[in-house]
Symmetry: C2
Subunit: 441 residues, 2 copies
Amino acid sequence: MPQAVNTIINARWIIPVSDQDKTDYLYQHSLVIQQGRIEAVLPTETVSGQYTAEETIELTEHALMPGMINTHTHASMSLFRGLADDLPLMDWLNNHIWPAEAKWVNEEFVRDGTRLAIAEMIKSGTTCFNDMYFFPDITAQVSASSNIRATVGMIVIDFPSNWAADQNDYFNKGLQVHDQYKDHPLIKAAFAPHAPYSVSDEPLQRIQMLANELDVAIHMHVHETVDEINMGIENHHCRPIERLNRLGLLSPSLMAVHMTQLTEDEIQLISDTGTQVVHCPQSNLKLASGFCPVQKLVENNINVALGSDSAASNNNLDMLNEMQTAALLAKGVSGNAEAVPALQALKMATINGAKALGIDSETGSLEAGKSADITAIDMNRSGTEPVYNPISQIVYASQSADVSDVWIAGKQVLKNRQLTLMDEKDIIEKARNWQTRILTG
Amino acid sequence: MPQAVNTIINARWIIPVSDQDKTDYLYQHSLVIQQGRIEAVLPTETVSGQYTAEETIELTEHALMPGMINTHTHASMSLFRGLADDLPLMDWLNNHIWPAEAKWVNEEFVRDGTRLAIAEMIKSGTTCFNDMYFFPDITAQVSASSNIRATVGMIVIDFPSNWAADQNDYFNKGLQVHDQYKDHPLIKAAFAPHAPYSVSDEPLQRIQMLANELDVAIHMHVHETVDEINMGIENHHCRPIERLNRLGLLSPSLMAVHMTQLTEDEIQLISDTGTQVVHCPQSNLKLASGFCPVQKLVENNINVALGSDSAASNNNLDMLNEMQTAALLAKGVSGNAEAVPALQALKMATINGAKALGIDSETGSLEAGKSADITAIDMNRSGTEPVYNPISQIVYASQSADVSDVWIAGKQVLKNRQLTLMDEKDIIEKARNWQTRILTG
């Protein structure tokens, strides 16, 4: 007698991104969802003998893959998308972004900006994001109500902001968010010290201690630019990674974002300490920050995840696009056309992000027992046919508009390109209102 | 009394890409089309007093830009999209692409493959392409019937193919195509010697002479990889550019494609001779061929156009995607975040391609008198809002699915995402049939 389940999705291909599977992708397979979790992945021809579902969905031209994980972003900055382009990092930060943030960032900005970002993320197949920004309480609230998985940053930075007045205020407000969401199925908190040049030793030591105690991750910009290295040498008499090591921060709990400036010794140290690296290729290119040596990191068994950074330095939150750039750029930078092949890029955008966030038992691959965080990609258009290998096509040819359906924890949040829980028209209208205020203010 | 015209398009923005305009983009302007040509570009509020049209189109959320020019591709190779990925150029060519071509390339292959490519190109806003492949007669025929602008390559290569038996055969068949289309409004022919390592001196001299005589362009892969340079030194005792210079090929008639290996002296020589460069960033990255020093070329007043190369080494023909990569990569390679800003990238994808092909009096910008080759981009979605600057958004955030409408020589070939002259379903079905044959053959 077949087992009763909630949903069966019959797909042309399933790409589990699982280390257990012998094949990289499965042809004409089905994914079974029961109570928000993946019950089974099995050949479509055998599914009806084993399961009977409330809802059966036919995705005959589609590939199912794990929902993507954007392991570094500042979601609400989407309201600054394209505000200041074609500028180097320090000019961009000091003369454009930081003044705009000082003037505009408040609860309403973060609410409207995060909703804009989540709409874009879900429509481009992202089911989880790792955020660093002011008002993480609002980011958490909006994420929970949009049913997207998020790790929000308990941001710490040496200067005051509209969110917190001083160091203690940052810690207190951040820890309140942590406490509020500690049992939430989708929302987590991580410490988010901004960067080596903007956070002094004392708060970093406090973060190290608290992160251990509370068992939460740490999310930090590290070795993004040559400027940062120079500031480290000037102010702390060593390169930032050496300082972080001395402060005890290098560990599997640390997500070190960017990492474009790395010596061989530093790569070894990152590998030895199990530190996670988050690669943001488009942002690094756009700000001319340097090249993260991704292939070398992979060869040294370092877990490399992928992030878009904010839409103000990208200018999208599109992980398919980011994955394509990561796969292409690694080849150019290493001079090796076999570097970061398509499946490796797909792992960086899925399971590696889950590992970096410490949630790989919950999400990041399509395996029985995990949360049903799923992205369906329609492969049937002139720009992606014929399909010799669906993984290669997704990484090198698909675009976010091909994402047809998305589930998070078993709930369908995108249905045939339509958001089911969000009003995209209203979100865009609010974004335009912000634009008018920012331009005329 | 208002002048009677065929079409008025009222758009939110018009990006003329014209050196004459003082502003980079125009807000709430209209474009007037009469008998296939641009009659005027003027403020929407003044259009009704001056023109009355058979058809008025409201594109209230859209930007109009010149149709893009893909200045280097091998269109019909789209049937090999994803056949062999993550491999270096010479392995990819010798062990995968060339054997597949020897086995499969014939008139039917080129017809079906070119149709697939044109469908993708039009749907991604490309209105003109510069092709190099066997059976250029078929490419020309399919392009003409699809109403897309094309320059087809009179290919010359030292070894026989299914298209031609020997050198004379290549020349004779190529020149027949040239003669057949010499008065065609959309189709042109250019000589297309494959590469320095695959074409010997004698045919190159003959091409140089004939190109002068017939006033046609020359389209050639040049300095694509280190291997090519080494082969040149071994077989001709000099680097390929020196050999091409000695043979008299460096001139404004030559489109030198790839150019990833360039000394300072060679850059000077390219500049002095007015040689055109065609940059293919995604293909160069994917095959790990090297980095074209685009910013240095621009600083030396060299005209740099943009190409996708074939879908077998990309894996798409999407010029929006290519433009984004070009703008981002130039910053990373030069270490200068101000390198190739958005408008420069847009020029590379439009007017610079027209200049390289010698058709800039006909197309490449939206100016009165030129052919109405127009791409409309819908800017109204969560991934591209708000719009502080439409040019920046198009280059860094838009995707080909945002291309809503396309006109070529005044004829609408894409209408609200639907091809008007091509049957996309049939095109995809034929592509799938080829896939089955190639995989089981």
